[in-house]
Symmetry: C2
Subunit: 233 residues, 2 copies
């Protein structure tokens, strides 16, 4: 019992040894011209915390990251991308060898239809229309071509959280959905803490209490470790 | 002679003592909804270098800054803003007491016409139009209401640099235009160095060679110190 206690205290949980886990993190950038772009408030903190904690628990971690301003965790492979299309290619080309894919990145749903090669000059008129084209849906592509991988998605919403997150989970063939209420204090992009709800395709759900993103990451990885064990059994 | 030499080496140039200098820096953000926004690649490095060097030379420095990822220099007043409209108000309310205004910020020319209160859901259709409204032109407002201030603008261009910069200088009633060729290696937003051309309303111009942004800042401040001295005389 003492031995077990010491192992638990001194050694982090090693329940993900040998598992290939791919994690996406951060925002993407969609350029309008060489100077301007569309992006979002994702900081990458949640994805980086997942990558760090998965590595600590023994997983072989690939991190595909959009442009972030925080230190990159030491994992097995780091791929930096800019746009959603670049992220799609980086993820799909590594999909087959993964046991788990966690899509924590907040990718741009749209990109400017035509990226201008030169900086667009200001027009005389008071307004203009920017044409946007829908980006490929990475999570949907992953769900469609899923083989034996465990697929985990994030839904960051400002309203109708459970409804939107459940619908997204089903449409995209996920095994686990992490639902994130951006309107809650202490949760979402700007924070070092988060509060999430875990949703399962069988209708079950579980609330994780407000905590630091590393603790939330561990909670999510506990669920993934359980799903991996269940699959083997 | 030795004394003069020591003063020059040990003491920075104090030719801006008592001058009120307002500097804007960085990009602005124009929110589409609570999650997404339009911004640009401005890092704030050039504006922060100007603020730091102006302070060293004895000026009373106000820095109005958009969201940047670099350390804020120690100056007399720092005002953080997000959007172009916020920057306009911060600048105009402090304009009267300034001797010099340097507009090094890269503000968004347009903002989404309607900022959505809730995160916009992805549409079924493959494309969408984003309506943009022209932002107020801060530099034009400054030029229009200029009293006795020295007004310095930046033009960051990817083509027709001199032509575009000269036209902008004249339209906006500037005393000095710093023209920035974004296409030149070692110049522009991504760099710690810059190479600029200084343009004057009388048609004169001067090229500063490729150097660190702090050195470039000093070169620009040399010109400003000269303009201030000329005005007094």
């Amino acid at each position: 019992v003492l031995e077990e206690y010491l192992i638990n205290v001194l050694m982090p949980n090693q329940d993900l040894v040998g598992q290939h886990i791919l994690i996406t993190a951060g925002p993407t950038r969609e350029e309008i011209d060489p100077v301007r772009y569309i992006t979002n408030y994702s900081s990458g903190k949640m994805g980086y915390a997942l990558a760090e904690m998965a590595k600590k628990r023994g997983a072989l971690v690939t991190l595909i990251t959009g442009p972030c301003q925080i230190p990159i965790p030491k994992v097995d492979e780091v791929v930096s991308v800019l746009s959603t299309e670049e992220m799609l290619h980086a993820v799909m080309s590594r999909y087959e060898q993964q046991d788990v894919v966690i899509k924590a990145a907040a990718v741009s749903d749209y990109r400017p239809t035509d990226r201008a090669v030169q900086k667009i000059k200001k027009q005389k008129e008071g307004s203009m229309e920017l044409s946007l084209t829908k980006n490929p849906d990475i999570l949907w592509e992953l769900g469609k071509t899923k083989n034996d991988q465990i697929l985990v998605g994030f839904a960051a919403e400002t309203e109708n959280l459970i409804e939107n997150a459940t619908s997204k989970m089903n449409r995209k063939n996920l095994d686990l959905m992490v639902a994130n209420d951006l309107m809650q204090p202490g949760a979402g992009f700007h924070c070092d803490t988060n509060q999430v709800m875990l949703l399962y395709p069988n209708g079950q759900s579980k609330s994780l209490k407000l905590e630091e993103k590393k603790k939330i990451a561990d909670g999510i990885l506990d669920e993934i470790a359980y799903l991996l064990k269940e699959k083997k059994a």
